[in-house]
């Protein structure tokens, strides 16, 4: 039941974002409760006053880091940021984000594609955060991305999956893993994503900003597992009319014979 991306095996289908936690302690506890093997980090200017190394904390929680390019608005910035992350963190994996709008944080499709092509050429394992456009997802796959990571709804919005139809089209066509990334609000969103055929779920705010992040991390772990198992178990079809679950034969005649 493990997830394989670019030849690397992840035991968990859940990838954690680390943004939004109150502090590193809560983050560590939640990441551990989530069971995730991989957790994203952002690249920011060194803060001389910062306490603790997120990389070390994550490693103690049994989790490897996946740097992202959050905050980049152009292909060029995203490529440089990925290269800096590779230098700093000794990983050639990158969650590629190229944002097109600071209000919705939706990706810029043309810049994203350009950055993906450049990073693939430069030897990166590219996991692009993309919108839910099936054509763009296909182009990213064609460009050599190791997975595609469509959103359900905007980052941090908690709206869940706004367009089930597009997500299904992406899943049906993809030959690389599909990771739902962004928009998850609660456990049932994650279950639904897996049932629709996603290979994994990446989430941050729904756990980090929940009232009880550790409990929500546990819920998400169960939710992803429930969705994966349900998909494999083969759900019943939807029917417009009822279908009795008690036998229609052998019913007693109890009414007065009169």
């Amino acid at each position: 039941m493990a997830l394989e991306i670019a030849g690397r095996t992840l035991q968990s289908r859940l990838i954690m974002g680390t943004g939004g936690f109150r502090n590193l302690e809560v983050m560590a506890a939640a990441v551990e409760a989530s069971g995730a093997d991989l957790a994203t980090v952002a690249m920011r200017r060194v803060d001389p006053g910062a306490r603790g190394s997120i990389v070390e904390v994550l490693e103690e929680a049994g989790c490897e880091v996946l740097p992202n390019t959050a905050g980049c608005y152009t292909a060029r910035d995203a490529v440089t940021t990925a290269q800096l992350a590779r230098e700093a963190l000794e990983t050639d994996w990158v969650k590629l984000e190229v944002i097109g709008d600071d209000r919705t944080l939706l990706p810029d499709p043309a810049e994203l594609l350009e950055a993906a092509e450049a990073l693939v050429s430069d030897g990166f394992v590219v996991l692009p955060y993309t919108n839910d456009d099936p054509v763009l997802a296909r182009r990213l796959e064609d460009a050599g991305c190791a997975a595609v990571m469509p959103l359900g709804s905007p980052i941090g919005s908690g709206m869940g999956i706004n367009n089930l139809y597009n997500l299904r089209l992406i899943v049906d066509a993809a030959e690389v893993p599909v990771i739902l990334d962004a928009g998850i609000g609660t456990a049932s969103d994650a279950t639904l994503a897996m049932e629709l055929g996603c290979d994994g779920v990446l989430l941050a705010s729904s756990v980090s900003r929940a009232e009880d992040p550790v409990a929500m991390a546990r819920a998400m772990r169960l939710a992803v597992e429930a969705g994966l198992q349900a998909r494999r178990a083969g759900r019943i079809p939807r029917r417009l009319h009822a279908r009795a679950s008690s036998p229609e034969e052998g019913v007693a005649e109890l009414a007065d014979p009169a």
């Binding site: 943004g19 952002a42 200017r45 060194v46 060029r76 440089t80 800096l84 984000e97």
Partner: protein
């Protein structure tokens, strides 16, 4: 002295100051573990830090991993 911009702040450095000094001054941990550096938007590999000096007006970014995403 050379005037450069480190992580957005103007700084005056000795002309022969190398990048490993800059990294340390920016507040990075000893040895610059987990840190990467760009000069004018180009990555400078760690191996070049001890020998690389800066020119007037160059912008240095010293980055590390933080919570995010």
């Amino acid at each position: 002295m050379t005037e450069v911009v480190i992580n957005g702040w103007p700084r005056r450095l000795p002309a022969d100051a190398t990048l490993d000094l800059v990294v340390r001054e920016a507040g990075a941990p000893e040895g610059g573990r987990g840190v990467a550096v760009a000069v004018d938007g180009e990555v400078v590999p760690r191996a070049e830090w001890p020998s690389r000096t800066l020119a007037e007006g160059q912008r240095v970014e010293v980055l590390t991993a933080v919570q995010g995403g």
